[in-house]
Symmetry: C2
Subunit: 436 residues, 2 copies
């Protein structure tokens, strides 16, 4: 693999502390890892040089919770009550999605994610091998889980497909794909099923990605069935013990549950915009952060957001928690940026990602600062969180490889992806109509 | 003045109703007005033709509340308690802003606004003649008010400067500048001062732009001083009677006050992101809309937002009110779009703006739909509100004149504006430091 020098960066933001900004600095990549940050010795001989004048160099963004292929259902159903949205619109059309749909929908999602600065995403859906293929084509890092419902005919199938996914893809594609098991949620996976999943995860040495405490209705249902709340139930069956767990949403939590999540270093995927749009509620993120919980950011699927734009998600997180706690000092800009980078990487179980440090994986984005809305720059971090947008992302590097320059994706034909995704969508709608 | 044909638009969104979308349609402009929408007769001979294939044509966005020149203070102070932010950071540095600062800061703001689809903004600040100049240079429509504090040495000065502003600029610049009087707020303008301002507004035949019920602290202060709440106090002195009033914020309202605002057709500038970031609270917008109130959207100044991006503001409004009311059907996409266009224009007192109709002023934007995040398009309106971003705005037309094409501003050198604004900021900081 080659070597790469990023020189003359207006600023490098290593995400190792709020005051640690390097101005007019260089960064060197050797193979898939970062080699030097700040000063690069003159003897370093790069294969490629990127001039980062007018740009900030920072870790790529980490999307901790997605259902990527649902791009095909973007704007298919909005502004509806949650259960009507799910039962009358999303689930019936989803039943018609096939392997090719998932592939092209995921490619569209990967294109959108890279163009908004995401370099790693966690996904839970089905036909996950096709999602892995799409990620590999675009060049983005992926953390994939086959969603599992613990009853009905698909319960066994989901287990078999998960095992197959691990065998085919875990730590494959130059280490850029990792697999987790994806039991959907406590209300769709009974404890005995979850215990099988836990045992399987340990045997396969992979983590677990689960939806947890997303809505009030879920909490009520679990209480009624099991006499306790979702996170406590998961704690009781030992879900969090001795394994990597990624829990999406965590909106409705008791104080005790927050402590459980923090103490077990459970990765929490906070999805502020999905929770707002579906009116699920506001996760107690400021309190979770105080307790030392590992909280990253996610977009959730594009039919409940309706984009995969982490720049927006950062900003929404920072704004939402201020007004919800009536405290403007809550979730300051740097904290939002940490959640979108290093904390997100930790939530997904990476200890060598999300910061710019020698030896870390080279997942890096360059943001173009030469825009009216990014001037002046009294505070670079505030500008990135409160003023920057997805379209300011200029260059994206994943695993030491440049996959976007000047907003052009290098390994995929963006126009073709759009056209194919659009065609798949039309076929999907026709199929759904004819099979009614 | 010339004539302009916009042809082959993928869609035209006249904002005359949620289902009134015209596909593969044309629009014609003659002078400063819209002449035909949908079908343009073959005999129409345009001077200029714009091909709008792959684009949606819709009314320009209306920013109902801004302090444009505060771009120079973007990211100067964030994540602080409100009074500390104002008293220790914003007011001291603002005291050093001079006429040139206001000019270049406003130019930077106008550049940013046009690049995010805004064609009309309401501004309250000082040195407002310079703001008018900046707007005229860029080609954006403006509604300007000199902020007035009703005590101290500036009380008289603000009145004199307001009169001067009306004389110099009201209905000038080809009708693109309108002036209002800008009494700052009930807590900074005693009733006797407001009564003078009301009389002056009537004499000059202009409207009034005021901050109203922004924070809980304001409500408490007014209650203590006057034994009633801010909107009721304003109603008692007759502020809303028989004149155009634009009230910014309106966060903390009683039921009675909501009815007063709705009944008097007071223009309400809702600034969701500023209210979130400063933790001022959540304005009761869904209830105000139910009552028939005229609610538009604003960004507030760029030091409390920190951008002037109405595409984001629309989305934030739609998301915030869903989660705050725990009802995902509240403030649907079309309503958010109305607030950003036709309702905003009404809030500023225009009855021939904010919709695409023959005879209406030709303030129009073209949004490029050929982006991964804008596919597929099950619902164009949902895509515009929930998925589109500022950078998708491709072309901007104000008063029949194209002022941006392919994201390039036509009447101002964007690079020079950035550089001059940056230089002014450095000088401002140096001046503030030396005069300490």
């Amino acid at each position: 693999m080659g070597s790469l020098l990023i020189k003359n960066a207006t600023a490098i933001l290593p995400m190792t502390g709020p005051d640690q900004i390097l101005y007019n600095a260089d960064l060197a990549i050797e193979g898939k890892e970062i080699k030097y940050v700040g000063n690069v010795p003159a003897e370093f001989q790069p294969d490629t040089v990127i001039d980062a004048r007018g740009k900030v160099v920072m870790p790529g963004l980490v999307n901790c919770h997605n259902h990527a292929a649902m791009t095909l259902l973007r704007s298919y159903a909005d502004d509806l009550p949650l259960m009507e949205w799910l039962q009358k619109k999303i689930w019936p059309i989803e039943a018609h999605l096939n392997s090719e749909d998932v592939y092209w929908g995921s490619l569209l999602a990967c294109a959108e994610m890279v163009k908004s600065g995401t370099t790693l995403f966690a996904d839970m859906y089905f036909e996950m091998g096709r999602v892995a293929e799409a990620a590999q084509v675009v060049g983005i890092r992926a953390n994939l889980a086959r969603g599992m419902i613990g009853f009905g005919p698909n319960a066994e199938r989901a287990i078999n497909e998960s095992v197959e996914l691990v065998e085919c893809w875990h730590c494959k594609a130059d280490g850029m794909v990792k697999v987790m098991l994806g039991p959907h949620a406590p209300y769709t996976c009974p404890p005995e099923y979850l215990e099988r999943v836990m045992k399987l995860a340990d045997d396969l040495k992979v983590g677990i990605h689960i939806h947890l405490a997303e809505t009030k209705a879920e909490v009520e249902e679990i209480k009624e069935k099991y006499g306790t709340t979702p996170v406590k139930l998961m704690d009781q069956i030992g879900l969090f013990k001795g394994r990597q767990v990624l829990a999406a949403h965590c909106v409705h939590l008791t104080d005790e549950e927050m402590e459980i999540l923090a103490n077990h270093k459970v990765g929490i995927a906070h999805n502020p915009e999905s929770n707002m749009k579906l009116a699920s509620g506001v996760a107690p993120v400021p309190r979770l952060l105080e307790l030392g919980a590992v909280v990253g950011l996610g977009t959730d699927g594009p039919s409940s957001n309706n984009n995969l734009d982490l720049m927006q998600e950062m900003r929404s997180a920072a704004l939402l928690h201020k007004v919800f706690t009536m405290n403007p000092t809550v979730l300051p800009a740097y904290t939002a940026l940490e959640m979108a980078t290093v904390k997100g990487a930790q939530a997904l179980g990476y200890d060598n990602l999300g910061q710019l440090q020698p030896g870390y994986l080279a997942d890096i984005i360059l943001i173009d600062l030469e825009k009216p809305h990014l001037y002046p720059r009294h505070d670079l971090i505030a500008n990135l969180v409160y003023s920057a947008t997805a379209a300011d992302v200029d260059t994206v590097i994943v695993n030491g490889r440049v996959i976007m320059t000047e907003r052009k994706l290098l390994f995929v034909d963006e126009k073709e992806v759009i056209e194919r995704a659009e065609a798949r969508t039309k076929e999907l709608l026709a199929r759904a109509a004819s099979e009614k």
